[in-house]
Homo-oligomer: 196 residues x 2
Amino acid sequence: MARTALALVDSGGLESLTMRRLATALGVQLPALYRLFGSKQELLDEMAETILAGVSARKRPTDGAGWTERLAAIAHAIRACLLTQRDGARIVGGSFAAKRHAHTLTLADTLVETMLEAGFSAERALWPCTTVFSFILGESLEQQGSAHAGDESDIAARTVDHPHLSAAHFLDFDARFDFGLRVLLAGLRAELTEEP
Amino acid sequence: MARTALALVDSGGLESLTMRRLATALGVQLPALYRLFGSKQELLDEMAETILAGVSARKRPTDGAGWTERLAAIAHAIRACLLTQRDGARIVGGSFAAKRHAHTLTLADTLVETMLEAGFSAERALWPCTTVFSFILGESLEQQGSAHAGDESDIAARTVDHPHLSAAHFLDFDARFDFGLRVLLAGLRAELTEEP
DNA sequence: ACCTGAACACCGTTCAAGT
DNA sequence: ACCTGAACACCGTTCAAGT
């Protein structure tokens, strides 16, 4: 099952996830897994689905607030789900969104609905969602990648010839996320007032 | 060499890249590769570096224009480099940016310089860059992932229960990118006027 | 110093054979 | 129908031995 596989990734990283190890963790023989999933990629797709299933559970009850607050709440919830699971961004990023199942589509539907209420036309309401999602996924990929990339002094050493770069700013992932989300929300507001 | 490895990925996809196949493509025995790269991950890092090295070459000569035009030109160049190489987004996304070498850091330096000229303080000039880069990486990941995910009718079938979702909009990756980049630029402009 | 042959310790996937 | 033993065709990585 996908939850057992995610637990294996949590304890050993994505490269430690093996069909053989998953089989023993489930107390079953290796070929029996191929009755549950057609391939390892199908397993990974279902793991991505499981990770994103946590978004609606984690989302705060901000249904009374405006669309910016609701979108920000969903964005924070998506980020939290990706970051809570070890290698979560890599798992979700490696599984094409439109191939996934009910939970992901429900999340997308909720996002689009929020943008429709914000005032975007049906023709364009999907795009704010993919923009925000791509931003979150990219930032989370970088953040989880940095965990396996040596410490801050390594990075500082590499940036020594580049006067405009600062390792401290680079590694302040919370600030990066807050900045980017604020910019995206401001940009979406501008987009709405320009073409009402 | 990384360019040979990228050519292998171009013709067979990332999963077809094997140390053994790379060795024969280079006309060398398998263990000799480990004198050039310490591991396959180091090879992948250098491949990511090589992909991003194309950005400055591809960038149009817009140095006379304003910062929005320059940032947009670099964003388009990054996207083109990721999309031109098969599985380019997965390769770049799998290699932590701060671990990479001269080319990537030069690109980052150019981006930060552009944002400094736009008016961002040295404290914050890095964050617009990471925001834009994360957006481009996430969108490119989805776009290249969609190539291996069945055709449009498959996706349409899955979205049938979700009235707000449209496969046509989902798969219009150029429109998604243009929308997101425009929103980001508008948001950055707003950020500058709010805190001068 | 640099390269090779050969092996080690694994992989994902399949399938005839069992129950 | 469902599961297993055993194998197939590979992997990345290492290392003593060659030149």
